[in-house]
């Protein structure tokens, strides 16, 4: 795994060196640093950003993605290359909330407008580095609470639930878990277990089957993303408990639409990923055009999606 990352980082760093000084026209250049493009969510986000660039036509977009969720080196290399290229703005979805602080500080010092979206950089790390940077992004915790509340409302007080977590150490995974915990507390749910399935379908399927053995009376599941929710639903089917256990997810990926429709899933949360990067670019361009610098947390839209929203 390690090798593949190094190779990928090398390749990406290589490709970045090519387009130096290609912005002869006066359009501002925005460097977009994305997370894993193997993830449908970020892939769609990138496509949204590209459509946005074509639509606005008043800036040049340079996008870089990573090979996997945890490939931090690639992001750092990308930021450093953008500094060398003297882009006007960097819009970044950081893979790590601490490791990216020093290179972004260098970018800000180099006079580049930096917008942080998707996952917030760590407050303490920012403070220590003397970096003040706003965050444009959805409230993962709030979103998870929306889904959790929907589940609590459906099941009622005292219902037995479990949480399927994302990657341990990932900020959005931690935020979503906190949101689910908020719902557990507010809805007075009985939380039986909370474990990670590393965002993955097969692992979630295995994990939930085993949880179900340990706790045959589970009534509800809160999955930190939809890929894992898919595995959970399949495990419920295999155990012959279809309709007896409610599932909520997060992300609103296309593959869960049929499940929502068949009521195998109660709800998911849409954080409008497709527009998220484009929104962040808009904010960066606003600052570049002489607008007020961003401050604090600029929250983006989130919405609960249920069977009513699926045609």
């Amino acid at each position: 795994m390690r090798f593949s990352k190094i190779i990928a980082a090398g390749l990406l760093a290589g490709t970045l060196m090519v387009p130096i000084a290609s912005h002869a026209d006066d359009k501002p250049v925005v460097g977009l640093v994305m997370k894993s493009l193997a993830n449908e969510f970020f892939k769609n986000m990138l496509e949204g950003a590209k459509a946005h660039e074509a639509k606005r036509g008043d800036y040049t977009l340079k996008a870089v993605g990573m090979q996997s969720e945890t490939d931090i080196e690639t992001q750092i290399n990308a930021v450093e290359s953008f500094i060398t290229e003297k882009v006007d703005a960097i819009v970044i979805a950081p893979a790590d909330s601490r490791a990216l602080v020093p290179p972004l500080k260098r970018a800000v010092d180099a006079g580049i407008t930096v917008v942080n979206f998707d996952v917030s950089l760590d407050e303490k790390a920012k403070q220590e580095a003397g970096l003040t940077l706003a965050f444009v992004g959805p409230d993962n915790r709030g979103g998870a609470k929306l889904a959790g509340d929907a589940l609590a409302k459906k099941l009622g007080q005292g219902a037995k639930v479990v949480i399927i977590e994302g990657n341990p150490g990932a900020d959005n995974a931690a935020q979503r878990k906190l949101g689910f915990m908020d719902s557990v507390e507010a809805g007075k749910l009985d939380l039986l277990d909370s474990r990670t399935a590393h965002w993955e379908t097969e692992e979630a399927n295995t994990l939930f089957s085993n949880m179900l053995t340990a706790h045959p009376d589970i009534q509800g599941v809160m999955a930190a993303n939809d890929s894992m929710a898919l595995g959970v639903v399949k495990a419920i089917d295999a155990a012959g408990k279809t309709g007896k256990i409610e599932v909520v997810g997060f992300d609103n990926i296309p593959a869960v639409q049929p499940l929502l429709k068949e009521k195998k899933m109660l709800a998911t949360v849409d954080q409008f990923g497709q527009e998220m990067a484009a929104n962040a670019v808009d904010k960066a361009l606003g600052v570049l055009k002489g607008g007020k610098p961003l401050e604090g947390w600029v929250k983006t839209d989130i919405k609960l999606v249920t069977s009513d929203d699926v045609k």
Binding site: M1, F3, S4, I7, A8, L37, A38, N39, E40, K43, P168, D193, R195, T196, E200, T201, E202, N205, T206, L207, S209, N210, M211, L212, T213, A214, P216, S227, L230, G231, K234, D237, A238, A239, I253, P254, A255, P258
Partner: protein
């Protein structure tokens, strides 16, 4: 204690010794599995229930199928790091075929199965040919293939998940016969076939020979090139079948599935007593190895251990299995 019935001819005694050594080898792994099962049965409430056993068998299936293929490759002294990525490529190819508009569901599934196996065979041929023709260690070749297949899967699907397979196909993946998942029975059938090929055929004999002493096998007139390619191709075909099993079980195909599957498959083969340097081991051991991994994963969750503890214990068990194998080797050599 009556000694008159005992075959006292040297040949008879030696045969008995040979058989008992073989039994001892496999029994060692089997014993470890039994111990694990007993421990979990005593310490957890639900381990030894019909539905949990069904679960374990379901969870073991994909790894088992990949491990069978991996056994062939490791027996000739190779390794295939690409199985996880190739599985995802085969799955997205099969998923694309299966969801082609306007196809009769039965035909769509048939074509999907064929295309998955062909895709797997294609990557197997590629791995085998490159490592045999240019004498490049398969570790390196398959490390390359790992990236190629993953990239190809992402390219083909544009990173999106494929779903909405025919309902009968989706239902098939959850079907059980007397509590035994049909998918597991398929894997068991594959184990039986692989066992037969390795233990009874000339082909299997020569594979073991190559793993032990490639030069001796070559000088005995065997075409090493062919056998090497064949081992990787068999592995590839099994990855294709594994992809179909994945899809039947989870009803999706995605370019990001199967990450790290190769390591589980290698672990199952090694725990099963197959030597990483080739030439020694059996697919029955691999079956037991895969079961040990599955039982461990299941039992540790039922025990309520934290995720991180589980991961550590799984790692220790892999190392422990290999250490035990060293002792078993010494025992059976004497």
């Amino acid at each position: 204690m009556d000694s008159t019935d005992i075959d006292r001819s040297p040949a008879g005694r030696a045969d008995f010794a040979a058989v008992s050594k073989t039994v001892l080898r496999e029994a060692g792994i089997g014993l470890a599995l039994v111990v694990l099962i007993i421990v979990f049965s005593v310490t957890t409430q639900h381990f030894l229930t019909a539905s949990n056993i069904t679960n374990i068998l379901t969870q073991v299936t994909i790894n088992l199928v990949l491990s069978i293929g991996m056994t062939f490759v490791i027996l000739i002294g190779g390794i295939d790091l690409s199985v996880g990525s190739v599985l995802s490529f085969c799955a997205v190819v099969a998923g694309t075929v299966m969801t082609l508009p306007g196809l009769d569901p039965a035909l769509a599934v048939t074509l999907a199965v064929i295309s998955a196996v062909i895709a797997g065979i294609g990557f197997g041929l590629f791995n085998g040919f490159i490592s045999a023709y240019w004498a490049i260690p398969s570790f390196i070749v398959t490390l390359g293939t790992l990236n190629i297949a993953r990239g190809a899967a992402l390219q083909v699907t544009n990173a999106s998940t494929i779903y909405s397979f025919p309902a009968a196909f989706n239902a098939f993946g959850s079907r059980t016969i007397y509590g035994v998942p049909v998918l597991f029975l398929i894997a068991l059938l594959l184990v039986a076939i692989a066992w037969f090929v390795l233990a009874k055929t000339v082909f299997g004999r020569v594979l073991y020979g190559i793993g032990n002493n490639e030069e001796a096998a070559r000088l005995a007139g065997h075409n090493i090139f062919f056998y090497k390619i064949a081992a990787f191709t068999i592995c590839g075909a099994l990855v294709g079948i594994g992809a179909i099993i994945y899809m039947a079980r989870l009803n999706i195909a995605s370019p990001i599935i199967g990450i790290g599957f190769e390591l589980n498959a290698i672990a199952a083969v090694i725990i099963g007593g197959t030597s990483l340097s080739g030439g020694r081991g059996s697919v029955v051991g691999t079956l037991l190895g895969a079961c040990i991994i599955g039982v461990l994963a299941n039992g540790l969750i039922l025990l309520g251990l934290s995720d991180f503890m589980r991961q550590m214990i799984t790692g220790f068990v892999i190392i422990l299995a290999v250490i035990l194998d060293k002792y078993r080797e010494r025992l059976t050599k004497a």
